[in-house]
Structures are given as C-alpha cells and as structure tokens.
C-alpha cells in the first residue's frame, strides 16, 4: 500500500468518498445499462468535440487572441457566474454534509481528526462542483490545446481553484448560518440562499428588464458598470485581468490564482474543522428533540372523527405542513420560474393577449409541477405503506385520498393568478382554470400509476428516479400549458396539444396497466 493512500490519510478517505459518490450516481443502473450510459456520455463528448470544439479551436488558431477589456470583462463575468453556481452547490452540499448522517458518526467517532474529515468531505464537494464544468469544457479545452495552444489546458487548474474557493465560501456560509440560526433553521435557509445565489446572475440580469424602459436603478447600475469599464477598469494591467490571464495560461497569474483557491480552501477547513464536529452533532440532535405543544394537563382527548378517506387526507396535510424543509424543496422549483415569468411579462407587456396567453401557460405549468411534486410525496413517499395496506381501506380509496391531499394545497397558490387572469381576460382565466384542472388531474394520476417509492428526505433524487416517467410528466405539462395558452387566444389549434396531452396520459395509463 502506498504512503499516499495509507489508511486514514486524506487520499485514502477521499478515495472512499469518491467511491461512495460514484456508486451513488450509478446505484439505479445495472451493469449493462451502466455501460450504455457510459457509451452515450463518451459519444456526446466526442461528438461535441468534433462538431463544435475542433472548428472553434481552428477558428481561434487563425486569429490573434489579444487581452482586450471586452475579453477580460467577458471572462471575468463567465468565471463569476461559474463561481456563483459552484458556491450555491457548495452551500447545498455543505449543509447536507452536516445533516446527512451516512458514515459521519463512524468517521467522527474514529481517531481521525474532525478537520481531516471536513477537509475530505469538502474536497469531495469541490470535485462534485467542478465535474460538470470540466465535462462541459473538455471538448473545447482539449481541442484548443491540440489544434491551438497547449496553454488552454490552464482552464483545468483554474476551474479546480474556483471550485475549491467556492466550496470554502459555501462551507463558511453554511456554518455561519448554523452559528446564527441554529440547527433547525439552517437547512431551510441555506437551501433558499443557495437557490438565490444560483439564480442570482439571472435574477440580476432581469433587473434592467423589470425597470421602466430607459431609466431606473436597473439601468443605472448597468450604466455605472459600462462607465467603469470605459475608464480602464478591465485593462490588461489591472487586477481584474488576472483571472483572464490565468485562464489563458500566463504562468504567474495561473500560479497565484490556483494558490489563492487552495489557500482559501485550506484556511477555511482548518479554521472550521473542530466546529464541524460540534455542528454535525447538533444537527444529529434536531430530529430527537421532538417539537412539543403546550401541555394539556390531564384533559380528555378530542378529535377521532372523520371517515377513512378523511383521516388519510388530514394526515397527509399535517405531514406536509410539519415538514418545512420538504415544502421549501417543493416550492424552490418555483423560484426558477420567476425569472422566466419576468421575461414573459416584460416581452408581452403592452400586448394584453400575449400577456394573458403567457400567464395562462405559466399557471398551468406551475400547477402541473406542484401537484406532481406533492403527489409524489403523498403517494410514493408514504412512511408507513404497510399500515395503509393492512387497513380495510381499499387501494382506490387510498389513492383518491392521497391525490386529494396533493391537490388541496395547490388550490390557494394558483387561485390568485387565475383571478388576476380573469380580471385581465375572462377567457384566459377560464382557459387557465380548465388547463390547471387537466394538468393537476394528469399529474396526480401519473404519480399514482407510476409510483417511485422513496423517502421524503430524498425528494429531489427519488422524484427523478424514472427519467422516462419524469419526461412524460413534463411533456404532459407542456401540452396542457400550450393548449390552455392557445385557448386563451381563442385559437382553434388548442385541440392539438390537448389531444397530445390526453394521448400521453392514456399511454401512461396503459403502461401502468401492463406493469
């Protein structure tokens, strides 16, 4: 055994983390399917390299890439966007590292120092963050290095340094939140913050769109940025040029950029290592506290009313209401629809028909997504399936109750935009209501027919456990959204997407019947 991989060493632990992560990624694929996926991925990289990367590299090799202020600004912006996405992922992963037990108890109870455990876990997070960008960049970087200049390979250390620094920032934010908010609230706040950071650049880019045309704060900060660039802020001899120079392979900037990333990572993990063990222990205790209600003394019990279906609906609603972390995950997906809504609203502004159609499509799609998510939770993530199965309630009654529980919380959420549409255009409001009803029933039915059992805490992973069903579910949502939007415009063509949506639902029903 090599010294580097001595048991308990950082490389040894990292190998363990990578192995677990790797097996986690492929856990749902069996041998042959895994090989097929590998083949498909390799093919995608090769095709991307030859169809885009190589022509791009040949094009760049013919021109002189000079460090100009626009190029520097562009690279800085690109790296900043990548960094923000990495910080978001780092924050999410760092928070999960605190709460997900897995082997944490084993590692922290071993003689290995908490700092080393944190370092390895953070390294695994950084590798996870950088993997996607390395995958996306490889067809270009390799082509550029082969057909242009080998210095383009500097992109890899730059990306890794960025991942290390971003992970360190994400980790520091997670543990800072932990110190300020405590174990119970950190998980939810960190998740919301991560989503905001992740979507931050896109949201910021829409500030200008939201502001009245020609003036306002959104335009003002853009103009200030342009003025700063014009005054030499992105000149090649300024500090702003160092990331770009590192990416283009200049030795000193590359060395400094990489060293800065490594130093930030090492400093944060060294500083927070001891605290990590304490925070992880505190996070482990939050499930054990059990929220207590006000004591009722020796008062007699109330309740115990309602039929079998009624108690099942009530139980599901209680469980949803008492799991704010899960609900925040469900609602978080809506956050990413907000920028899209901004764009649609802005582009449709001044055209009432287009606004109504866009709003109608948005409401229907939103309904489908929300009902689908909630139906997965109530149907597939049942904590005590044997209890329900052993009860006299038959499956149809249980399914109906669970679908009802998934639909009820969505009604107040979509009622507001539907009322708004009714005011704007009664026909659009009615189309939205009809489309939302069709989408809701379709999503709930698909989740009942194609159950994907999983634990509530694995919501994001398990929800996508069957990509075919997920794809079909999204397709049905798009079909109903399109149909409703066309109906809002009184276009007879609404029948076509409606038939597509209904046809997909029938196909999925048949698939269930065969299964």
């Amino acid at each position: 055994m090599s010294v580097l991989a001595a048991p308990g060493s950082i490389p040894w632990l990292l190998r363990h983390e990578i192995r677990l992560g790797w097996r986690g990624i492929w856990s749902s694929q069996k041998g042959k399917a895994r090989r097929v996926w590998f083949g498909v991925l390799a093919l995608v990289v090769v095709v991307a390299a030859f169809s885009v990367g190589v022509p791009f590299a040949l094009f760049l090799s013919r021109i002189d890439v000079a460090l100009s202020p626009p190029l520097i600004a562009g690279i800085d912006l690109g790296l900043a966007i990548i960094a923000s996405l990495m910080i978001a992922q780092g924050l999410n992963s760092a928070t999960l590292a605190l709460y997900e037990r897995r082997d944490l108890d084993l590692l922290l109870s071993s003689p290995i120092s908490a700092t080393r455990v944190l370092t390895v876990r953070a390294l695994a997070i950084a590798l996870g963050s950088v993997a996607l960008f390395v995958g996306l960049a490889t067809p270009f970087v390799v082509s550029l290095a082969v057909f242009g200049d080998p210095r383009w390979l500097a992109a890899y250390p730059v990306l890794m340094a960025l991942a290390l620094a971003s992970t360190a920032v994400g980790l520091a934010i997670a543990m800072g939140l932990f110190a300020v908010l405590g174990a119970r609230r950190t998980r939810i706040v960190a998740q919301i913050l991560a989503a905001l950071i992740g979507a931050g650049f896109f949201l910021l880019s829409q500030v200008g769109n939201l502001a009245p045309r020609g003036e306002g704060r959104g335009r003002a900060w853009l103009e200030r940025g342009q003025a700063w660039a014009a005054s030499g802020g992105f000149d090649p001899d300024t500090p702003a040029a160092w990331p770009a120079r590192a990416l283009l392979g200049e030795p000193l900037p590359l060395l400094l950029f990489t060293a800065a990333g490594v130093a930030l990572f090492a400093g944060v993990t060294a500083l927070l290592g001891r605290k990590f063990a304490g925070d992880a222990a505190a996070a482990a205790g939050i499930g054990g506290g059990g929220r207590k209600r006000r004591a009722r003394g020796d008062a007699a019990l109330g309740g115990f009313t309602g039929g079998s279906g009624g108690v099942l609906v009530r139980k599901e609603l209680k469980l949803l209401a008492r799991d704010p972390y899960l609900m925040s995950q469900v609602l978080m997906q809506l956050l990413y629809l907000i920028p899209l809504a901004f764009v649609i609203w802005r582009n449709a502004f001044g055209n009432a028909d287009a606004t109504a159609a866009a709003g109608t499509a948005g409401v229907v799609f939103l309904t489908s997504q929300l009902v689908g998510n909630l139906a997965w939770i109530t149907v597939s993530a049942e904590d005590a399936p044997d209890l329900i199965a052993a009860s006299p309630l038959n499956k149809r009654q249980a399914d109906r109750a669970k679908a009802t529980a998934a639909l009820l919380p969505v009604i107040p959420v979509i009622a507001v935009p539907i009322l708004g549409l009714l005011v704007l255009s009664p026909i659009a409001g009615l189309a939205a209501a009809a489309g939302a009803a069709a989408a809701a029933v379709s999503s709930a039915s698909i989740n009942i027919w194609h159950q994907r059992p999983g634990r509530r805490q694995d919501f994001r992973k398990s929800r996508r456990s069957s990509w075919l069903v997920s794809l079909a579910e999204t397709g049905v949502a798009f079909a109903w959204s399109s149909a409703a939007a066309l109906l809002a415009l009184l276009q007879p063509w609404w029948v076509i997407p409606a038939c597509v949506g209904a046809g997909l639902v029938v196909l999925l029903r048949r698939g269930e019947a065969r299964a």
Partner: protein
C-alpha cells in the same frame, strides 16, 4: 363485525408462496379463538411471509386464509377489519403525535369515534405514553415508538392481533408492559399470534407454539406436547427447538 361464531381465529389451508425459492410451502395452520399462539422458526423459515399474507400485505400463490370464518382472499376488507398487524419496525409517522397517530389508525379502520377515543386514552395511560401524547414521535426512543405502534394496533379493538418480533430491542421494563398488555388482551377473549426469537417469551406466554422451517409446520402444540414430541431430557423450549430444527439453522 363479521364473525362466524365458534370459528377458529385463523385457518390457513395449503398456503403457498414463492419468491426466488419457496417461502411458504402448502402450510396448514389453525389458531383457536382466544389463545396466544407463538410461531417460531429459524431466520428465513417463512414466519413473516406467512403473517404478511394473513394481513393482506402479500398475495399468496395458492391456498386459503380464513379469519374468524371470513375468507380473507375473497373479502379482504372484512378480514382486515378484525386484524391488527404490528411488524418489528414500528409503522409510525415521525411528524405525528401519538394521539394523532391513534386518531389516524382508528379512522383508517373505521372505528367508532367515541369508542376509539376512550381506547386511545386507556392505551396511552396503560403504556405510559399519556405524558408524551402531544409530542411528535420523531423524538421517541425505540421502545416508546414500539409502544405507540402497539397502541395503534389496539385502538380499533381488533379480535386478532398479529405481532412480528414485538419485543426485539425493548428494555426489560417496556418488554414487561407489552407482555402484560398482550396477556390481558388474551384474557379478555382476543387472539394473539406472535413471532419471536426470544424463546423464553414463547415459553412463558404462549398457550400453543408452532415451529416452522422451510415454510412448513414442523411441530405444534403446548410446551408439554412439544417436549414429549422432542423426547426425553428436553426440558426447555430451547432444547425442543434445537432438537427439532437443524442446529445450523436454529435461531
């Protein structure tokens, strides 16, 4: 309540189930009304599979199941109404309080609300969960969870209580409470079927004991009858069990 007077609590005839191998092999078994029946066997003998078929959680490949005379395969709802099932891992919801859990289970079984409320209060007090009735189960120890689940199993007044390893992982105090409650139910006329690897529990509590292996009933009877069947010098149930079941597979 659909109940054929004088019928056995449970009758299994030719019950058969295969997975990758035969799990239950044409099992015939009769449990009389009002008795505590212990079903013993080595790991993988088919105990849990049998009980899951009785409770409607697994569909038999062949064979008949009658619960107090009701054909459980033809009318599962009527049979389920008389049964309570308590698996080794409590079927609880962490985010519900014990009272809410009992209310939910009573509702599922369509129990009379007044009767269920009174039962819930009695059971929570009897199992010393009354003080914790408004705390969510997520903070409970394994023993408390098992007690809450047991209360849930009893809240709708089942006539046949089926328990899979009900005492595993419980401390002596909680185990005593559970055993006392089960004996009380049997004295009150209910029927209890349990599986256990703790042979002393079967020895002390059970009116009759059945030993299965490879999905077949090896032996059945009172402790005395089993001792006689196993031969001279077999004084304890452990001796009998080890004599009947191949030593390599025992426990």
């Amino acid at each position: 309540m659909i109940e054929a007077s004088g019928a056995p609590a449970l009758e299994l005839r030719g019950l058969y189930k295969t997975f990758a191998r035969v799990a239950v092999d044409r099992l015939d078994l009769t449990v009389r009304a009002g008795e505590l029946y212990a079903l013993l066997g080595p790991n993988g003998a088919g105990k849990t599979t049998t009980l899951r078929m009785v409770t409607g959680l697994l569909k038999p490949d062949e064979g008949g199941i009658r619960v107090f005379g009701v054909d459980a395969r033809a009318d599962p709802s009527a049979a389920k109404r008389m049964i309570a099932w308590l698996p080794d891992e409590p079927m609880l919801y962490d985010k519900l309080t014990p009272v809410e859990y009992l209310e939910f289970v009573a509702g599922l079984w369509g129990a009379d609300p007044d009767r269920a409320r009174a039962n819930a209060e009695t059971l929570l007090k009897r199992l010393q969960l009354w003080e914790h009735r408004d705390e969510r189960c997520e903070g409970f120890s394994r023993g408390m969870k098992q007690k809450a689940a047991l209360a849930g199993a009893l809240v709708h007044d089942p006539k046949l209580l089926i328990l899979d390893e009900p005492l595993t992982g419980l401390d002596a105090g909680i185990a005593r409470q559970v055993k006392d409650l089960l004996q009380e139910r049997v004295r009150g006329g209910d029927t209890v079927i349990l599986t256990t690897h703790i042979l002393e529990v079967a020895e002390r509590l059970a009116n009759r004991i059945g030993i299965i292996q490879h999905g077949r009933l090896l032996a059945e009877g009172t402790l005395g009858e089993l001792q006689a069947q196993a031969g001279e010098g077999r004084s304890t149930l452990e001796d009998v069990f080890l004599e009947l079941v191949a030593p390599s597979e025992a426990l």
